[in-house]
């Protein structure tokens, strides 16, 4: 298929030297400086001959690795620009160490036409991280007629999802999965069977019962996971499962992978960090879909990361204005901010808490999501995006992040680059911080501050 390559991603012209860090390369973490010229890594090593004009950024005591890639970002533009815009969301992403994000299609209008998708890509092209788009599977995300998937694929769209809701009709899902297979693009499912979920706004269990809030059982997610795995197996199609949150989902994906089904899966930091016990406050900042669940589900998600069942950390960054979160719990919209806290939570919960290695952290936050989104070197790289998720090597585009594992910081939603402040981690002390983010050789974040 012809991808309409619109080379609009300029490389930074200024030379850059990232000095003093531990660099994540093919041979592991090595103590080295990194030289970047015209957006490309030109040298890695000690005692490099730095051009006089090079901008030097300090990475002492930090890890230098590939910039993170978020498979699941709600940028809200078009339609809800009071909660987030492409520019503010991209800035939040850069501050979170991301060099690329995939924008979800549940905007208004929905990202189900080339015209709207192109508008989002154009705005993304001038922002502080690369913005890829997930197209809607069905027109208007109504779960009925297929959206112009081939036309969007020609723009380079690699992922298709009705995220925000699952495709309820099994026949539509099967046809869409088959159509995507033919085009070599990936069908991505928000797994939630509405009939089983029955309008539940929290996980059905101990807390829904105590708090008198309508619950949705874990099976509402798992039933659709199972359905889609069976469809993917039968069709030989590629399937990506969004924001998995239950033990049963992890078990199903583990078995499916063992059986050779072409499935990838993501999970969000809040699903390996928070439990539904937080709901006692009835504060809608904890309302999210899929809902927060009891600890054994949280532990199953962590285990899923450790054994490779879950491929990627995806933020499900979902900005909402204060007035919409200041509503009675069942009336407030689901979703929480994620971009600016994802790295620290992944580091805290999976590395410090579950003995994952730093190399693995970069796998699940950068390499794997880049591959799933087609943003890696071999992928279609929609709309002329540069490659992401590669270990640092000479000749690569400098999409890099510099993280300080020893830094601690305290969450203050009002200081986030996101327009909204709906973080469930307000006041939480975080471990590990983003120090610099480099996009195509340009330091878009320096010492934790966005440069534009």
């Amino acid at each position: 298929m012809t991808i309409i390559q619109t080379a609009r991603y300029g490389m930074a012209q200024e030379a850059l030297a990232i000095v003093g860090g531990n660099v994540l390369t093919q041979t592991g973490l090595i103590r080295a400086d990194v030289m970047v010229e015209e957006g490309i890594v030109t040298a890695i090593g000690l005692d490099l001959d730095l051009p006089v004009a090079a901008k030097v950024i300090n990475a002492a005591g930090c890890v230098v690795g590939p910039g993170f890639v978020d498979l699941h970002t709600h940028l809200r533009e078009p339609g809800k620009e009071q909660a987030e815009t492409i520019a503010t969301g991209a800035r939040a992403a850069a501050l979170g160490g991301y060099t690329a994000v995939v924008a979800m299609p549940n905007t208004d209008p929905v990202l189900d036409s080339a015209f709207v998708v192109r508008a989002v890509l154009d705005l993304g092209a001038v922002s502080t991280c690369e913005v890829a788009v997930a197209g809607a599977i069905t027109v208007g995300r109504q779960g009925e007629a297929l959206s112009p998937i081939a036309e969007l694929a020609k723009l380079g769209v690699q992922l298709f999802t009705d995220d925000g809701s699952g495709v309820q009709h099994g026949g539509v899902a099967r046809r869409a999965l088959d159509y995507c297979r033919g085009l070599g693009v990936t069908y991505a499912e928000h797994c939630e069977d509405n009939a089983i979920a029955a309008g539940g706004v929290v996980h059905e269990g101990e807390w829904s019962a105590k708090l008198g809030l309508p619950g949705q059982p874990a099976s509402a997610e798992e039933a659709m996971v199972a359905r889609d795995l069976l469809l993917a197996r039968e069709l030989g199609a590629r399937l990506h499962l969004l924001h998995l949150s239950t033990q049963g989902s992890v078990d199903l994906v583990r078995q499916a992978k063992a059986a050779g089904i072409k499935v990838t899966a993501e999970a969000a930091p809040h699903h390996f960090t928070l439990t539904d016990a937080t709901l006692q406050s009835y504060d809608a900042v904890f309302k999210v879909n899929p809902p927060l669940r009891p600890d054994h589900h949280v532990q199953a998600i962590i285990q899923g990361f450790l054994d490779g069942t879950i491929d990627a950390v995806a933020t499900d960054h979902a900005p909402h204005t204060k007035e919409t979160k200041d509503l009675p719990f069942d009336e407030a919209p689901p979703g929480m901010l994620g971009l600016e806290t994802a790295f620290s939570l992944t580091y805290e919960r999976l590395v410090l808490g579950a003995k994952m290695s730093i190399e693995q952290l970069f796998q699940v936050m950068s390499t794997n999501p880049a591959r799933i989104a087609g943003l890696d070197r071999s992928g279609a790289r929609p709309y002329g995006h540069t490659p992401h998720g590669e270990l640092v090597a000479v000749g690569n585009v400098a999409n890099l992040v510099v993280v300080d594992l020893d830094a601690t910081w305290t969450v203050d939603g009002s200081s986030f680059a996101s327009l909204a402040a709906n973080t469930p981690y307000e006041g939480r002390v975080m471990h590990g911080a983003i120090r610099h983010t480099v996009l195509r050789g340009e330091p878009v974040v320096l010492e934790g501050v966005a440069t534009r």
Binding site: E204, G212, L213, Y282
Partner: protein, 325 residues
């Protein structure tokens, strides 16, 4: 205590406090001059976002008997209809200088949220979604204690919680969607009774393992041992109709019929928080039987709500001046 959001806010001692103060106010209720000056100068607002007859009237009567001024916000004619948020409505009321707001809302947790949004105003939960209806739980416990005290020939105020020890209380009906069930369970458990929840599986909460209750689907098996049957209505307006094949099938197994009344042990009582649907979850003969306390519950509601308002707004420190103690 500043607010009454849940029976949890009270604990055993708090529940007994409310019941004992309510006994004094019940005295007042029996006088010709029913009004006391305890809350003179205080302003109480009722804010009902859901229909109610008895609870609203009961709270407003209670406030007036205590000489408080009562503002009654009718949601149908308020700015809420123009799109004003709950938070802004509350902030508006707060700026009128009121002392307590009594809230009923279809959303569980709304009164707790309200208490976070308001600074110095007491918030009283008059029923939130499926969550709680604490004043109902209190008045039910109060009514039952009174009946059992009368049986024992003692004054209720002298008994604390002792009459509840070892009693077997069966709450039957739509437990899942009932805020009364949650408040009653918490109150009766706190007072030391054994609580049994009786409903078809689909009308039970998903997980009651931490509630310290027994669960059964067989009402008939409970009748002989029960000291109290608390009958709840099927909350058809909250979608519970879909949880059972038909009202007929639900009532066959879970309604309080005359046959079931006859199977109760001597001295056992029946309560119902209202509104009753006679001939549906409770037979007319049962509703009118002296063992059924439903009208006493309504009468006691005023005294119990007077006690709640009094304790919240004076801290109980003012002394029951002019109350007759």
């Amino acid at each position: 205590m500043k607010n009454l959001l849940s029976i949890h806010d009270l604990g055993k001692a708090g529940i007994i406090d409310v019941m004992n103060v309510a006994e004094s106010f019940a005295e007042v209720e029996r006088r010709t001059m029913k009004k006391v000056p305890a809350l003179k100068g205080k302003v109480v607002a009722t804010l009902f976002f859901e229909e109610s007859t008895r609870t609203r009237l009961s709270f407003e009567t209670a406030a007036k008997r205590l000489s408080a001024d009562v503002l009654s916000l009718s949601v149908a004619s308020s700015s809420v209809k123009k799109g004003e948020s709950l938070k802004d409505t509350l902030k508006t009321i707060e700026s009128l200088g009121i002392d307590a707001v009594i809230i009923r809302h279809r959303s569980s947790g709304a009164p707790l949220q309200a208490s976070r949004w308001l600074d110095d105003i007491a918030v009283i939960n008059a029923g939130d979604g499926w969550h709680e209806h604490p004043s109902q739980g209190l008045l039910d416990a109060f009514t039952v204690r009174q009946a059992w005290a009368e049986d024992a020939g003692v004054k209720p105020i002298d008994t604390g919680a002792e009459l509840f020890a070892g009693k077997r209380i069966v709450i039957v009906g739509d437990i899942a969607h009932s805020r009364v069930a949650r408040s009653e369970t918490l109150a009766y458990k706190a007072l030391g009774a054994d609580v049994v929840l009786c409903a078809p599986q689909t009308l039970l909460p998903s997980d009651t393992s931490s509630w310290g209750v027994e669960v059964t689907h067989d009402l008939d098996a409970e009748l002989e041992q029960a000291d109290l049957i608390s009958v709840l209505r099927l909350q058809a307006e909250r979608g519970s109709g879909e949880c059972v094949p038909s009202l007929r099938e639900f009532n066959a197994d879970f309604a309080m019929t005359t046959t079931r009344l006859r199977a109760l042990k001597p001295g056992a009582r029946v309560t119902h928080p209202g509104p009753m649907v006679r001939g549906v979850e409770i037979a007319s003969e049962v509703a009118d039987d002296p063992r059924c306390l439903v009208t006493t519950q309504v009468t006691n509601g005023v005294a119990v709500r007077m006690a709640v308002l009094y304790l919240l707004l004076t801290g109980g420190n003012q002394g029951l001046e002019g109350v007759g103690q």
